[in-house]
């Protein structure tokens, strides 16, 4: 990101600077393999999809260049907006809840107590449960007449109609399932972050008379910031492309950006190019989300000097 200005100033001098320095050269060698793997596999298909999005292509053949037409049509498509709206609500709400609960759990199990090992393992179970099955199982539990959650929620007066036939309840249900499933991921990541905070810092703070809250906000939070931002960023991007949870659990009733892409690219015969436009839209907006984390929240991508 910062390269543009530097490039202009030194006109290629940076190449010498970067590769003349042994440490920097080593750095590039270390990065190269991972970067190559990702680019070799994904770069071409993605460029291809970008190309399709600006042509009138169909599933069987290349079309001619049509500029932004697919994008314009996409923005006029109600399903797309419905998907965007649901995706945004889902992402913001579920990630927020997951973070709060996840942090609480991480703090709770970052201490010595009897049965800690079992609790840690238990925490992971929802995350380890195969996603492709969990959506099916939750759908069954939400079913009217045969589903246990629908029955209980109905019994205590929480709902007045079957969960599966109301899209608002379905969205809430999807958020609930996501919180259940991915809070462990958040908790485990934050726990690992907590583990890297040396215990003696707390001791010192206690000696200085800092109370629990002070220690939490002055030591835990700042030292955990890097981990928190990584956890949040990944959960946000992951929730942002929610697909099977909506498609399978809601019986295709809930639209998300990814179900829109899926329907257009993999089911429809007509919306192929538009679906590719929507993919590029997801790609670009995911990129922007990452940028916001880096720029606005001051997420550091390395040891900047």
């Amino acid at each position: 990101m910062t390269s543009a200005t530097g490039q202009k100033k030194r006109r290629g001098g940076w190449i010498k600077e970067e590769f003349g320095n042994a440490e920097r050269r080593t750095a590039y060698y270390m990065i190269l393999p991972a970067l190559l793997i990702i680019l070799a596999i994904a770069f071409f298909p993605i460029m291809y999809s970008v190309l399709l999005s600006v042509t009138s292509s169909t599933i069987t053949g290349f079309g001619s260049f049509v500029g932004a037409e697919n994008y314009i049509e996409m923005f006029q498509n109600e399903d797309f907006w419905e998907g965007l709206k649901n995706t945004l609500i889902f992402t913001v709400v579920s990630v927020t809840i997951e973070f709060i609960i996840g942090l609480g759990i991480a703090l709770a199990i970052n201490r010595a107590f009897r049965g800690r090992g079992l609790v840690r393992a238990a925490v992971l179970v929802p995350w380890a449960f195969p996603t492709v099955i969990s959506a099916v199982m939750w759908r069954l539990m939400f079913q009217d007449q045969i589903g246990v959650i629908n029955e209980v929620a109905n019994g205590i007066g929480l709902i007045s109609e079957p969960i599966l036939s109301d899209t608002t309840l379905l969205l809430l249900g999807a958020i609930f399932v996501d919180v259940w499933k991915t809070t462990p991921f958040m908790a485990l990541l934050l726990l690992a972050g907590l583990q890297t905070i040396p215990g003696d810092i707390y001791e010192a703070a206690r000696v200085d008379g800092a109370n629990v809250m002070q220690r939490f906000f002055r030591i835990t939070m700042p030292m955990l910031k890097g981990t928190i931002l990584v956890a949040l960023l990944f959960r946000t991007l992951d929730a942002y492309r929610v697909y099977d949870l909506f498609w399978v659990m809601s019986g295709q009733q809930l639209e998300s950006l990814s179900t829109f892409v899926f329907k257009s690219v993999r089911v429809s015969q007509l919306l192929f190019a538009q679906g590719n436009a929507a993919s590029v839209f997801i790609f670009v907006t995911a990129f922007l989300i990452a940028l916001i984390f880096i720029k606005v929240f001051g997420m550091q991508t390395g040891t900047e000097e």
Partner: protein, 443 residues
């Protein structure tokens, strides 16, 4: 070990997507990582003909293939198992076609796929091999599902149709000697039996937002004299009619009047089976397969002799019943370089003898009309005799290359109308507009 196959076809057309992509693939092959990774793959195929079809739990499919292989000279057929879920199967096969055809030669395909595959040039035109005189030996609706722009693209394999299941014992006890002929009668009977004999539900069917929901919705429209496409002009949408709207209104009234449970709008076949076979429903709309489940270990409560089968009821004043056609056809990959061998295999599988075995051993319904008068079949597989009328009344869903788009729209509108979120008039109005748009976008 199963051998691995590299796709073996190159089409010699203009620079198209495939070639473009191959360029990328070639560039990729040079990448260091794949240089090593590629070692595992490659190698030319064994030369077997590849036949794709969803998982077959009965085992008869493999037996038939083995039988074919024993008598076949020069080539063998290899069964490639596809996902059981029809939606996933469609997805998988479509991705392979999109990527250049893959190596599958013969495809067992859902009756709603041929038009789209044909329009994309993915499956072979078999009009010459399958002339009118041969087609007459098959049920008409499955044949129709294979015809696109006056050419035929495969051979019907086995069929399916929506049936009305009823509890004969309960109806008799309530004094009814015959199943309902109209939807109103069904509602009356269901109400009475439900009240008098304490049965939980009157009627269950598939109202969820999925392909089965389209079949159910269409049946209400058809049995009330409505339609989606103009029979005389496949590009004209005629769904915005009072008949179609009233048809959907009947479907909604089932839920509204409490004949069907509220949750029927989330029902698929999976929920229908236990609702009816546990004795919790008087009537059910389902495919023929359900009959064979009655009285089995899974569903011991309701025995086959308690169950009756009839064609679906019609609306007041309507004559002929109609059911949505289901079932499977056999298609040949247009890119296969062994069209003749593929055709031999298709002929074998759809022959009277093979269909007969498949009917007797896997209780799948034959597409050859002659088998419906086969005494052994009628006795061993009673649903053939019981459902004969409905099977012969079956109508294909709109045959269009854009059916998958049309289906997505219908799934949404039918389900919304069933739940009462929108009125039936609104549903057919919206569909008229969106389906017309789809058909026009294509032409």
């Amino acid at each position: 070990m199963t051998e691995r196959k590299a796709p073996r076809r190159t089409t010699g057309r203009k620079l198209n997507r495939r070639d473009f992509l191959k360029l990328g693939g070639a560039g990729l092959a040079g990448a260091a990582l794949l240089g090593t990774a590629g070692c595992g793959g490659g190698g030319s195929g064994s030369g077997d003909l590849i036949f794709a079809m969803g998982t077959d739990t009965s085992g008869t499919l493999q037996n038939l293939i083995d039988k074919f292989n024993k008598q076949s000279k020069g080539f063998k057929v290899q069964f490639r198992e596809m996902p059981t879920d029809t939606g996933q199967y469609f997805d998988k096969i479509r991705t392979q076609f999109q990527a250049g055809g893959g190596d599958i030669d013969v495809i067992g395909a859902d009756v709603i796929w041929p038009a789209q595959f044909a329009a994309n040039g993915w499956i072979a035109d078999v009009s010459d091999k399958f002339p009118e005189s041969e087609r007459q030996k098959f049920l008409d609706a499955p044949v129709q599902s294979l015809i696109y722009e006056d050419k035929i693209y495969g051979v019907p394999w086995f069929t399916d149709a929506g049936l009305l299941y009823y509890r004969q014992d309960l109806l008799e006890k309530a004094g009814y000697s015959e199943p309902p002929k109209t939807w109103t009668e069904l509602q009356e009977m269901a109400e009475k039996v439900k009240q008098d004999q304490g049965i939980k539900n009157g009627f269950v069917f598939q109202g969820d937002q999925y392909e089965g929901g389209v079949c159910n919705g269409l049946e209400y429209i058809w049995t009330n004299g409505g339609d989606v496409l103009d029979p005389n002009d496949p590009n004209a949408i005629v769904i915005d009619s009072p008949e179609a709207a009233d048809g959907l209104a009947i479907e909604h009234s089932m839920l509204q009047e409490g004949v069907a449970p509220q949750s029927v709008s989330t029902y698929t076949e999976t929920e229908t089976d236990p609702a009816f076979l546990n004795g919790d429903a008087v009537f059910a709309r389902n495919w023929p397969y359900m009959y064979a489940l009655a009285g089995t270990e899974d569903y011991p409560d309701v025995k086959p002799e308690q169950i009756g089968i009839a064609p679906l009821p019609v609306a007041e004043g309507q004559g002929e019943s109609a059911s949505a056609l289901g079932g499977w056809n056999m298609l040949i990959n247009a890119a296969s370089d062994r069209q003749e061998e593929a055709w031999q295999f298709v002929q074998f599988m759809t022959s009277e003898e093979s269909q007969r075995i498949r009917t007797l051993e896997a209780t799948l319904l034959p597409t050859r009309t002659s088998l419906y008068s086969d005494q052994e079949i009628r006795e061993t597989v009673p649903v053939v005799a019981l459902g004969e009328v409905a099977l012969k009344n079956a109508r294909p869903r709109p045959v269009s290359p854009y059916y998958s788009d049309m289906s997505l729209e219908m799934q949404e509108q039918f389900n919304a109308s069933l739940k009462g979120e929108i009125s039936p008039e609104e549903a057919v109005g919206t569909l008229q507009e969106s389906l017309t748009e789809i058909v026009q976008a294509g032409s």
